[in-house]
Symmetry: C2
Amino acid sequence: MTSPLAAGDLDATERLRRAEADQPSSPVARFGADEPLLLDSGAVLAPWQIAYTTDGTLNADRSNAVLVCHALTGDQYVTTPNPVTGKPGWWTRMVGPGRPVDTDRFFVICANVLGGCLGTTGPASTDPQTGAPYALNLPMITIPDMVRAQAMLIDRLGIDTLFCVVGGSMGGMQVLEWAASYGPRVFSAVPIATGARHSSQNIAFHEVGRQAVMADPDWCGGRYLAEGRNPKKGLAVARMAAHITYMSDQSLHSKFGRNLQDRDKVTFGFEADFQIESYLRHQGMSFVDRFDANSYLYVTRAMDYFDIAARHGDVLARAFRHTRTRFCVVSFTSDWLFPTAESKAVVHALSAAGANVSFVEIDSPKGHDAFLLEEPEMFATVRGFLMGAARARGIPGPAEIAEAPALQRAGA
Amino acid sequence: MTSPLAAGDLDATERLRRAEADQPSSPVARFGADEPLLLDSGAVLAPWQIAYTTDGTLNADRSNAVLVCHALTGDQYVTTPNPVTGKPGWWTRMVGPGRPVDTDRFFVICANVLGGCLGTTGPASTDPQTGAPYALNLPMITIPDMVRAQAMLIDRLGIDTLFCVVGGSMGGMQVLEWAASYGPRVFSAVPIATGARHSSQNIAFHEVGRQAVMADPDWCGGRYLAEGRNPKKGLAVARMAAHITYMSDQSLHSKFGRNLQDRDKVTFGFEADFQIESYLRHQGMSFVDRFDANSYLYVTRAMDYFDIAARHGDVLARAFRHTRTRFCVVSFTSDWLFPTAESKAVVHALSAAGANVSFVEIDSPKGHDAFLLEEPEMFATVRGFLMGAARARGIPGPAEIAEAPALQRAGA
């Protein structure tokens, strides 16, 4: 007898992930033909769906909702285990009881992005017109499209104004897009390790990744799901290249240096002699089962297209005119994917727009990925900012909640 | 009637290049079974050959020879057109009549590296044991192996001491290796945009490139030449990723920014909407015909393995003990592949060894590739350094040569 999960050419993780595309383990909001999503490309998506998780309790006046936006290969499982990998939520350092984004105080929402592969409509989702996966028939997605979808989810949840929108990297792009396009609905915003546009170098790295995927014959012109294949090699190469950009020269040096992997001397061959090679190969291989190759194409493209200023006469400040949102912009010294200069450009624009903005550049050797890692100064910054904003918004603190738990929690 | 060059699956450029592997257009020094090349791996290469070009005239006392070492994908055609691409020599800005490396004064030698594909023994060369291309049966090559081969060429040419060894990037690694292992034979050395070891980040980028090549089914486990195939897609992806590292964020931004390619607005698709994408695709595609995929694997590996200090008890200065070579070390501010810190480490080691060393960090936005580009300060630096060294070595200057041309030139 063969386990059903072991059957076929696909491994268990990949089969689990494919099932999540239409029927996620998380809650999902479905929108029918009467609630189409209008995309920047001019295309209209209907029906469509958005998968999300929530944590904490929405208060009586619905003022304590925090939207967490995930990065390129993230998902809605910010505090709960990912059903495909079984790994813990991806930002439990930042979000949870007593964490900077304190789920004892805030109601946290995190949605899988449009174009993703864990339950929100994306290229792996079934196209209702054909009954087969969309693949490249899905219209192109943009960051504003992702945010428009999130706004419809927030409406569905009956929330008018978000207390905060927070995210790093592509998540930060969504934060900025929320503030630019839905300013009155955003009380505070925390864009981390991000920028208001994707740089030429970043587009270049994404293009390398896409070409690596498309060069894999198992990509099948995008139709690999229908054909029972998976462009693992190409996607692994894409992930390896991208992963280098998430770290810093310094962190690679201190973590791996030129250390050899399980050997005393080089093999004079093409094995993974060096620890960094072994590490990268592992990063590539462990990625391909948990992520859809076409989603990788769509979501990288969305980032490439992102350029808030371009939609405002090339003047970024205009995007934030009359904003009343409070901003906390965070960057890291060793992040070369979204260097501090990109954050400063945002801060300057916000200042020019008269916004309430604080900016912290955190000294860290960990590169771009620092926002996902143990960075006490980042946690202290976000915690402090949210405490101040919560006071201004009149959201009771944990002590006040503790004094009157029944009253406060009954409202949700 | 079909042109022979148009026949078959291979295009003309690729066919030309394959022919060059055994029978280069340039001069070639062949070494028989009695002159084996001992490799760092312990393997012995015999017979073997090294292809090279010369420019200028060797003087009577054979004291004016300059060895130019090429970078990863370079070749021996430093001042003359590449027979495969038809393009001009790759460093005519630096080397030629009246140039910093003045061929009116110096006798310039440039050899294709061991493991290369334009006439020096490499994986595309015919294995005399089998009559088929070596492919992965070629023993692994190291930078010291490359230099050992060059030393045997210099012997063959009857030159005892090189007036100068000069090169950038991997060429600079060879310069340092010459100085470390053949110090008494090197009067002066100019390592540019390089380091005494390959960093973790650089190994990482090389590993991505190799995985991209090996992921291409046309690579055929390395046997593509015998099977009439070519892993073009994989090699193109490798080149694209590498090419990003040769430029700087700043140069990409000023050269391409987010400019669109031949269109007014994005296509909402995966075409090369952005100029940077079009440029990278072109870089990838134009590379694959002129370079052998297995050579790319071997030569990147040689760079990864390079670590002079490791052979000297992890103390770089020991490698240059008692050196009498004059050094001119050059780096570029925006080079993030071989950042100035790597050059400084070399300079510190040389200083600790009591060497005569000058160091110039050149302010340039052009990134690593600056050494191949129009960089007046680099030219002035190298020119000035070589003039001083030539005086010390007693090599007549152009004016002196002009006064007594018959005498000086008769000696060659």
